[in-house]
Symmetry: C2
DNA sequence: TAAAAACCTACTAAAATTATAAGAAATATA
DNA sequence: TATATTTCTTATAATTTTAGTAGGTTTTTA
């Protein structure tokens, strides 16, 4: 019942890009350094976000990545569903309609459906902007204290 | 973000035992046959439930297992937390208080804490009795149709 | 005392996770 | 145009987790 590094790192990249939104393009090297994550590994994760038009990428010298939309337009759910594959707690929920021959008699199906729903709803209730804003507030608090 | 077979099988065992509550002891052989799960694998899972007093076990001839309490007294959350280890979506939530040195600046900590909370609350809102009752209702519907 | 049951520990195969490595393709600037 | 820099692509590998098997020990009742 864990979120893998793939999803977590993707989220951290998106937060890093959100923090630097409107500053221009960030290279993967920069992102990797700031977040202290292997650049090589991020190279494998970021194309998923890019292919799905979450990012704008330019290659070559002075290239890099930036968010395709405003931070408030990305939910955590969108990012994690993409990078984790999906957020289904059991694999029989992955295809809709459910193809399991025992779905009609399954005593736990509604349980997993309900869990799936609360997870998605919660993660879709939080945007990148929320995460960035919260960190700003927090850093501010540190100063006051 | 998946529940493993360990947790799912444990839940199915508990449902089987709940359905046969007050009928006496059930052997693991019976449970395994009815649920179509390897008995050898269940032998590895059931001691966790037993050690934590979820079950009453008797050894030897005519022995077996039965629920230690009424089905309504077990939540799905209790069963899954035990058999899955815990339900934390990220490992840094596993120890309280949080020992991560970066916890104060972590922009995603509150996100994971919130997810952890909705998952636990949802799974603790459903009892074994709910699951058994729902299946009864459903089987009844099948007759009507 | 024999059968049947829970209990215990070690082992193993397969899959997923978490990366590394090596290079190809594209592009801005000198 | 050459070069450095960057994204992009594919292959490989180590480690960990998952999902079981196997073989035997202990307990209990008939």
């Amino acid at each position: 019942m864990k979120i893998s590094t793939k999803g977590r790192y993707a989220l951290r990249m998106m937060i890093e890009l959100a923090q630097n939104h409107n500053v221009g393009f960030m290279t993967l090297k920069e992102i990797a350094q700031k977040q202290n994550i292997s650049k090589k590994y991020l190279e494998q994760i970021i194309p998923v976000l890019n292919r799905n038009n979450f990012l704008i990428a330019t290659r070559g010298f002075q290239g890099g990545y930036k968010l395709a939309k405003e931070p408030c337009e990305y939910t955590v759910g969108q990012i994690l569903r993409l990078t984790e594959g999906n957020l289904a707690p059991v694999s029989c929920l992955e295809c809709t309609p459910n193809t399991c021959p025992r779905a009609n008699e399954c005593p736990t199906l509604f349980l997993w459906e309900g869990l799936y729903k609360v997870v998605n709803e919660y993660l879709d209730s939080i945007t990148l902007e929320d995460l960035v804003q919260r960190q700003k507030d927090h850093l501010c608090n540190d100063y006051i204290i």
